[in-house]
Symmetry: C2
Subunit: 316 residues, 2 copies
């Protein structure tokens, strides 16, 4: 038996795990990402954690896979993120090969999440799936005919920027009406904060959980909605109605076996799925029936990490 | 050298062609489809035309490909259209093998159009494309990584039913707001007919070309717009603006090398492409640049027939 290392580098958290060659977890280490630390800090952490994990098993590590929370040039195996200091153009796979002495494959977190669910989660047994990450932003990864599909500019699955909403909100990308402006974690938190400022009496539970209006996060909205709080439920429902339009769009264009909802917002579970199904029922055609299933990610916040396992096994 | 037979069965026209094994046209026969004739009439025509064409070349026919204007079960090689009398469940490929004595492959016209442009038209040299048919209805066929992509229920590319338009128009599919209700040939003709009823003075050119308000077709609107008629141009522009939203959606989800616009409405050419590019410019993100090209079908109304050639070559 051989082991593999899996790494998930995110904007707020990072994870390093040791897995066997069947994708079974031996141990996962998790920590907060230093906002100011940049690349150097992260690489140092990576070396240390990998060294620590390697000592915990008698079996050798034969490969490494990495999920990176930002744009990646897969063909060059380089990070192309310009938002994170020092990472742009960094050949992370080559660095791992040099410093850890094992082959490595790198992809972005949306593709890694898709791969993780496909190989080890809700997508086992499917031929095609779309994995949607509902987090600070909204993105997706596509598996078609059993393989990650990237598109011409590696932009396939950029559903956060589908031109869906007639709202006037300007997206971080500079366009208006992107899906991300109405159903991302940021959008959900912003809506709740606006409610708190205007009608604090309606959001007492969320204020209890957060302490102050500006501390309300999407996680708190999800938590309150799951407890049955009406204001939180209404905010999640509004996001779900927009998301349902994006899901019907994906069904019409890609018609995958499954659509898997991942990321923090998907932890809402039934509170999110019920209004999605209601909207799909209302929007859909009575004469065009499809069998694409919409499910919550089985691996929770670990979908990209398991994707890194799949990448490691592929590189070995 | 060997020849192949290509057949394009459409709701208004059908075509039978003889091609060589490089996809070069030897001869194409074209006729009107009998509305009332149903399956028996069409099969009789097919036998006759194929027999006639076979006599026109000394080289043997080694295979046949068929594009069918309606749903097809590709894996079973059967027509699954329920709108055309007698066709539902008909094993057309097996019938051809039996009656013409050559292997045969059958697909629907959207996939065949995509394949035709991919192999012999605007998509040569690409790895992925979406072929959009803008005809009475709106549909599309996807070529991803060099192969037709069908999706779980063979519904991939059903972009006519993207939930895009907030208009109240009910689609033929029973849903509201489908793309098809705002940019199909039927929608364009209906809009022009409404103008003609309400403001005949604005549509004099279209009335001249058609003879009467109810005889205005999308073809006439396209013709008038190409001549510079303002009313017709405005109607095409409105359709183009909705179509641009669908194109941006396809770019975000699939990010293909090319999007190829086919079908009768695409004959509008520049009159259609200019407002598409204007809308894409306005809707798009300043920070997410893509290199997907949007072009008019090179094979014009023959894209599905050339797709049938590709199917024949595949089956041989």
């Amino acid at each position: 038996m051989n082991n593999v290392l899996a790494v998930d580098i995110g904007g707020t958290q990072f994870r390093v795990g040791l897995f066997d060659d069947q994708g079974r977890r031996l141990v996962i280490w998790e920590g907060a990402t230093s906002r100011g630390g940049g690349r150097e800090w992260m690489l140092k952490q990576l070396l240390e954690q990998c060294a620590t994990l390697r000592k915990q098993s008698d079996y050798p590590v034969k490969a490494c896979g990495i999920s990176f929370g930002g744009p990646v040039d897969f063909s060059q195996q380089k990070v192309s993120s310009v938002h994170t200091p020092g990472w742009a153009g960094f050949p992370l796979s080559a660095w791992v090969r040099e410093n850890l002495g094992v082959p490595c494959l790198l992809d972005n977190d949306a593709n890694a999440g898709a791969l993780g669910e496909f190989r080890f989660g809700a997508g086992r047994g499917t031929q095609s799936l779309v994995y949607i990450t509902l987090s600070t932003g909204v993105g997706s990864g596509l598996i078609l005919d059993g393989k990650v599909y990237r598109g011409r500019d590696s932009l396939a699955g950029e559903i956060g920027h589908l031109p869906l909403a007639p709202s006037g909100t300007v997206c971080s990308c500079g366009a208006v009406g992107c899906l991300e402006t109405v159903c991302s974690g940021s959008a959900i938190a912003r809506t709740a904060q606006e409610w708190a400022a205007r009608r604090p009496e309606a959001v007492t539970r969320m204020l209890e959980l957060s302490g102050s209006p500006e501390s309300i996060t999407a996680k708190i909205v999800v938590e309150a909605a799951s407890e049955g709080d009406l204001a939180a439920d209404s905010i999640i429902r509004e996001a779900a109605r927009w998301l349902a339009r994006a899901l019907l769009t994906l069904i019409r264009v890609v018609n995958p076996d499954k659509i898997v909802l991942g990321g923090g917002v998907a932890q809402a579970g039934k509170v999110l799925l019920d209004p999605i199904h209601e909207t799909l029922q209302a929007l859909g055609s009575p004469s065009i029936s499809y069998s694409t299933e919409i499910v919550i990610a089985e691996l929770g916040s670990h979908s990209p990490l398991y994707g890194a396992v799949a990448l490691a096994l592929e590189s070995a």
